[in-house]
Amino acid sequence: MSKFISKKDLNSWLNKVREGRRLIAPTKVEDLVLFKEISRVEDIASDYVNTDLSPKEFLFPPTEVLFSIEKKDGGVDLTPARVEKETVIFGMRPCDAKGIIALDKPFLEEPADPLYKEHRDKTILVGVACLKACPECFCSSMGGGPDDPAGLDIMLTEVKDGYLVQVLTEKGKALMPDSMLSESREAKPKAAEVSKVPAEGINKKLRQNFEDPYWGRLADRCIHCNMCSYVCPTCYCFDIRDYPNKGKTDRVRSWESCQSAGFTKIAGGYDPRANKGIRMRQRFAHKLLYFPEQFGVSHCIGCGRCVKSCPVNIDIREIISDVQKLGAKGE
């Protein structure tokens, strides 16, 4: 017996949820599907497999004020930024929830980043299971699954004229109490068939082939823009600078990518990663080796967004299988 909610009830629930909160959901922008704040529930897209950009921007925004600095009577006053409104992110796919679990690691590990923590505490994640896979996604090879509810507060699975509902956390229950749901004997539809990638033990293989010329050859093609890091749900590198803002000063944190030149340039001009091949290797070493070994969870969740948006088709699935084959020479 599983819980059920009709499409109509869901829409009225969404309208109710929107009062006093920010409702974020996938919507059509030009010919893209992006997470946007929704003013009308009808704008929510339904015929999409996954959004072009991940919901990361609502927990770790592209640009955010960390705190403001005010010079007052000789001294200085620091006022940390706060998150006022609650946010509901609706229509996420299970892989993006896995992405947020990975994002939690660096930001919530002691000492936690309080601004991220506030975003996280005040955000309710409502996911929709994947019944159809993207051609480029491979979540089941990276510890996830098209119907894996991990990380979500509420998980919906579309069935005839409604959704099966799994309320997974207190936050979810508070927003969608059982009283709203009816019983249903509807069988859970088969989850999407997701392509496989040989990611097993990739960190060891990467360590063994760290100096392989493969990376230099791969970097030939790469044009070193920031796109793969910005569309990636788990990349979290940032830059911090101060900005004047109407008399006060804001300390601002913005996204940054390890692929852009000068990312590791230090005072005096020395740049340990000036070489393109080394920069290329850094991205995939962090995704598949350093992060998993430091935080125990894969940093690539298999959403396929970097595969889809890379202008020159640097394909992490191809790299994982190439590196696995490279292993033959190592110890």
Binding site: L78, D113, P114, C237, D242, P272, Q294
Partner: protein
Amino acid sequence: MSNNKNPLLPHLATLQNVIDLTPDVRLFQIDLNDADFKAKFDYKPGQFVFVSAFGTGESPFGLTSVAHRKGPIEVAVRKVGTVTSSLHDLEPGAAVGVRGPFGNFFPMDQFKGKNIHIIGGGIGFAPLRPIILTILDHRNEYGDLFILNGARTPSDLVFANEFDTWASAPKTRLELTVDAKDDKWTGRVALIPAVVKELQLSPANSVAIICGPPIMIKFTLTELKKLGFADEQIVTTLEGKMKCGLGKCARCNVGDKYVCKDGPVFTFKQISGLLEQF
């Protein structure tokens, strides 16, 4: 405002004094405003802090003072970028921010009883000064102290005002060298690796600590190896582009190690074992 909760929120501090060490390096003496944080603020040679120039940003600087002298926090800042330029514009009394102390530290207790060779190039000498001050304040616990301070020109030698005290300290030898002399300079004119070779430093019961531009470290390392210094006897402090200092933002990694948390102090045995060359 205690902010042990918010790792990116600096502690407010006041610039107590500014001393010009060279035309482009200034020694900043910083006094923490918050009394109990100041009391708890303990640090060891080799550790670093992020100093905020409010209005521009923040940058990591090696601490060049020693905690046990109970004085203000001291960092030597070379004017090279926007944050350092903003710091150079500050007058004593100005408000700054401090985060830290971060990173590991020189293993002073392992140095005990050994002959210590301090080799610093340019501003790279600043993070080594705390080792000298610690040794001089506990002189009998350490062996001979050899200090080699090199710079491009005589006026670029940092902490020149302390050379006399160091040179006259017991069992201590101070050597200075410059790449190019000016009209008043009568001392040595040679690159640091050449001086190391010329002085035939002995590796017996010794440790060598190098810091300076990467090119200087590279060639000094080869000279020291030729003199018989083993990799674990040579220690350095690495520099990396940093944003958090907490081993989280993955900005300063060299291979799978973070310069800010697993370093900045490494022995060359550790560095050669790193996955990625620095």
